[in-house]
Subunit: 429 residues, 4 copies
């Protein structure tokens, strides 16, 4: 005796690979299927539709197949409401809670599909009815002050440590719809090149030109560009050009660590980065102490903003952020010296600050940092455009694998990448 369930596929189900994944999953998990309806889109702009019956030996097997299908955007044709279970304690989710992907997600609640706000990976989904008390509302991670309070029910993500006793958490797999983004059909636009995986053997200057175009397009659309920066950017001499991009408005937000800021400021105060003059390549005497002296100077002033105001810091990336009101997050790590007063030393607090920034970003440049890029990437929905630049192909691969449909990786030298990008954007080429 077999059990069965009807599922539906919609969209560019063939050229997006959805159909292929779907058939593969059913077969891999030991089920079978019959296609009951299949309308195929013949042109670029036509969507397809398929309805099929999935069959399995028993209910458990069927469940597992349907669950996997659902992760790939295949949904039951007879949707039911999602199951909600209250969290038994603070930071404790109910057993079998639904853990999110980074794709646009919808929850069926009272017969209606509601979109999950601030989707990111590995979160729980909390559903809240319209009559939510103010107290509850205040505790939501996603609370943006300027949004109009909505009246209807809401669904939003919460990371595990933000869960509060009594939160209504989605469990199991019913009543959930996921929409993996499709590969852009038309490769002609400014973002057309962003489907390409990684290579260290692509034409470098042409690729940088494409990235510059995508940044310009993002700005033209009114979007925000976020730069996630590692200290290698400063050592490799790209500081001045990044500072120009901040000043000229091509970088709207900055996410970095304590080290990045210290190296940037060291170059301003002492002319060196980790003791080396990035212009002359000399190592002035006492140079190795500049790092720790820089930290000490900023602590003495009370912080970066204070040091800019007092005239102690007069140039550089952090200076331009302060001077042009570009928000930044400096997240602490266990390898930090100091740290600077601006550095958020608590990892959970820092994550929350990063999360808030990430949700504002329309395009993210990940510039030679694995740690911070992963942290930011964890908070991004799959629809945000991402460019990863690193000289280590393993880093680029690791970042792209975590996946955005509009991500592109470039294996190059950050010390030549930023200057060429700046020349492109500032029209100097």
């Amino acid at each position: 005796m077999t059990v069965s369930r009807e599922v539906e596929l919609e969209g560019h189900i063939i050229d997006s690979g959805m159909m292929q994944s779907c058939f593969g999953i059913i077969m891999d998990l030991g089920g079978s299927f019959s296609v009951q309806e299949f309308d195929i889109g013949r042109h670029k702009d036509e969507e397809s539709y398929a309805r099929m019956l999935v069959e399995a030996d028993d209910e458990a097997q069927l469940q597992s197949i349907v669950h996997e299908l659902h992760q790939h955007g295949v949904n039951p044709s007879d949707p039911k409401d999602a199951t909600l279970v209250p969290a038994p304690d603070d930071q404790v989710v109910p057993h079998g809670f639904y853990s999110t992907t980074n794709h646009p997600t919808f929850i069926r609640h009272n017969g209606e599909w509601i979109e999950v706000e601030d989707v990111e990976m590995d979160c729980a989904v909390v559903v809240e009815d319209g009559d939510a008390s103010e107290a509850q509302r205040a505790s939501e991670q996603s609370s943006g002050g300027d949004e109009t309070p909505r009246d209807g029910p809401r669904a939003y993500t919460k990371v595990l440590n933000a869960i509060e006793e009594g939160d209504m958490v989605v469990t199991d797999e019913t009543g959930i719809k996921v929409q993996p983004p499709e590969r852009p059909r038309d490769s002609g636009g400014a973002f057309g090149f962003m489907q390409g995986g990684v290579s260290s053997e692509r034409p470098s200057e042409s690729t940088i030109r494409k990235i510059a175009n995508a940044i310009e397009e993002t700005k033209k659309e009114g979007g925000n560009v976020m730069a996630v920066c590692g200290p290698a950017l400063i050592h490799s001499g790209a500081r001045e050009d990044l500072a120009r991009l901040v000043r000229e408005g091509y970088v709207d937000m900055l996410s970095a660590g304590n080290g990045f800021a210290v190296h940037d400021i060291e170059r301003d105060i002492y002319g060196t980065s980790l003791g080396m003059d990035t212009e002359s390549l000399d190592h002035p005497r006492h140079g190795h102490k500049h790092h720790i002296y820089t930290i000490s100077e900023v602590i003495r002033e009370g912080g970066i903003e204070e040091a800019v105001e007092s005239g102690t810091i007069e140039s550089g990336v952090m200076y331009e952020c302060i001077d042009n009101d570009r928000p930044f997050v400096l997240a602490g790590s266990i390898r930090d010296d100091g740290p600077l007063p601006d550095t958020i030393t608590d990892a959970v607090e820092a994550q929350n600050a990063i999360r808030e920034q990430a949700h504002e970003a329309d395009m993210v440049l990940m510039l030679s940092t694995l740690l911070h890029s992963v942290a930011v990437g964890n908070c991004l929905p799959s629809t945000t455009r991402v460019v990863c630049v690193d000289i280590n192909p393993a880093t680029v691969t690791q970042l792209l694998d975590r996946g955005s449909a509009q991500a592109v990786g470039m294996v190059t030298d950050i010390g030549t990448f930023v200057p060429i990008l700046a020349r492109q954007l500032l029209g100097e080429d």
Copy 2:
């Protein structure tokens, strides 16, 4: 008119490279010198002695030369007391404070040389007279509970954020003596191979045998072996063998991150690591959720120890640490999921925990983690034995560059390294 100062070199000053560095520094900085006495050691076990007059054009140049020389272990022959200046505020060091190397260091105070306790890089040195109040004593970072309080004056390191108003901080460069460790002359002993830099083209099994010997030697001497572990160790299937080494007493302390512990426990509870069965290489259904479910389970129990006691965790590295009373530090980072209740999320607190562990270690195995290895390495004196293992040569190079005289790097696969090491140590080969 020139100014001059007499300096002395002692020890294996030629074959350690000290003399070469010394001459290079003087010439690079524009000075000259005359050798006034030179007794050369002719045999392995004889030390050399040199006295020379350093000449410069003016006092500033002379100062800079003498300062650089001093960093390399060359000391003025007419030592003066170190200059002490009180810290003007909490976390604020006096201008021109002396920033430490990781070499054994001595401070001249009241005409006596006192060794700086708990030497590590980039710290300030605080000197305290014998009549230190209990309050002051309690606030020292280096306070080991089991040490007998000493009566005489003490000198010890403090990181910037631990400085308190009024701390007597060493400034300038007088009255400080540094002893860079010498390259061991005799390459015959168990640690003889530890002078070798990095290579991916060395005989792997033979190198692992040497490392096993060094661990055995360290244990025989009553020393502590510390393992610093990255999550790749679990993914690569080395978990069971590392757990055995913990159980059998070859690893006394563990330093890792939240991810390492989660993957280790996931393998115990769900049989997977990041969703893959490390035995069969299969990806069971729902596997990608095991990671977040594991965290949730441990949070539910209240922590790792509680989960071990309740029987939720029954095997693995963390289990053996709990079961055999091996202390561990789990340091948080901004890319953590969860985190586990055991994870120290504040970077400064985590650094302090790491520091305390690091000072207890006689040999450190850095196993495929850059972040945690750098954090631990920052707290180590140059005399601690270090073995770095990573498949990425850049990681190994970066770690060795931060330098310990008895460090050795091995570019290999952690997933084959640990099993072969375990076989060697447990006599199964």
Copy 3:
């Protein structure tokens, strides 16, 4: 006005990705299509069939679409004979000649489909009617002495420099059928794991066990295992274990360079590899000369076989090859010292020797050499099983990209890989 052509797809056209590629190609090249028949396989073991009409604006566009489709295994439903044009001169192919993929390929000739022999990438296809003269037959690159001469027409590949005036060369794209191998549905067999791409974070020992199983399976099926070896294998201390695998019959053929053989023999004669004792890690005096002395000794003897016979070489990989009649090819390169008399210094001759070996191989182990692995890989059809092992992920990626459907890459240390593999195969674990 549009033009159109009917094409057919057969096999596991959806889960192999063929259908997805097909729709993508048509759309990317500006065409459209209508699906005219679509029988979908519902179970693992059922094949699907689709017939569709491809439409384009003009004949040129249609041609280009049909050509691209054909590269992916989609063939016109009204096949015509292939176009044959005689080569105008030695080494000169006709304009528009068909350049091969590494997939099984069929040529339509006189209304019959004949399979192309010895398929490999980037070759021309020569068709020969049954009445071929002996002279022609002798000049074919693929001539295996033990094959029965066939009477009917034949098609076989020729590299450019083997083309002779008058060869009937396939041009254009009609009358050619390509069959890209499908992803094996069932992941349960010994080769099931060979679909996995590359990762340095897979469980190492478990992966090696899978590779050992695949070797055993290949031997059980009567297949040939070929090892392609780089000099790092010797430096890393894996020589003795590879020699055992040759002796015990797990490696049937060897492909390497001059350096590999020299290092292997140096270890036998002088106990070192590039001057280092791979057992003790010592560098005996004069060690750096052993390399060139080894070459000199073998030249003096007249070759490796002579040196084995005279007792000069008594152990090692080359010794076991000679002693057990395992054929080997040593291909020369511009970085060689010597070279040994056995090394084929001409690149074209060496390629031919490699080609002949490669065509005999059923499974190829590529062990830490990029140059030789690429050379061998160039000669392999996509149906040969390939395992690539290298510590550099870029090397593994580059090799897998050239593609075999049954290729697997492993990023690990060859110096630990071979010993563990040997232990597995020789039942010592």
Copy 4:
């Protein structure tokens, strides 16, 4: 009873590290020493001198110590003539022949020191008296046609396969003097930065500016600049800028492989490199066939020069080489397609062509190729300036390790390096 020998050190024996190496060798090999005279240079421009007595337990040990010392430039103070033994057969050197380093070397013959011509690593040294017959002279590898024949005795290197029966070959270690180059004291000149090892975290643009200065300095001194190029240079889009450097006379000679030339010409004829348009990043249809078609076209023409003359090739690196009479060597390898008629397929012949070029070079740019860089590096004396550029740090390290005292490595993207270098040299920045 001990035996002893007097040795001498001259030059910057301390800051070059010679003295340190010397003491280390004696102690490592179990000897002892007494310093008998020691005149130390006190200023940058003063040389030092030391005379010392080396003692050992027996003659064999003494020999081994003296031999090692000699490799590091320490020479016996009582020199004897070198031992010459006739080669017993073609390609066969006498037992115990002296194998060269890449440092300037002198042979004592009839009481006179004669410099060894064309020094390179791992060669034999052949000594020839003044009355050399024409036949002998013709067979010397180093024969440059334009050199005046010298009357006195000569010493020159021969690779093993060039040895002829009867050649008088230097054996043992007496009568040989080696001069390892010293680290340049003054870091101010154009080549001052060339002492720096490798790093991926140096300021990129500043480093490229230094390299540009060194090239300009070399040209100003009338020197030859040789570029050794890998195919990645073309893929990464740097072709046009390298072509400009050839045209403008900044690159005098080219050493590359078949693939480099094919990709360069493919870009000219078809607008692609390995099928990708390096400007637009598009993959035109049939693009993957352009590679093999390019080869076919050049074969049809008879060679690159013929294809330039006929107008088939109209731009690019190879075009500029032909058009501006810059000699090039294309060395074959087993992974070549084709190859082009210009490619030297025999490895020994190709090495000889490379050797001849290498001996003419005053500065060598190694641009993203390991194979060709090693081949060229093998032929260079340690006094030639070398710049290695690769995105893979392992490649750069491997090249620098083979050693030139004036070598510098840069880990960067060749696709951004060449354009920035060209802008610097051509005054466009």
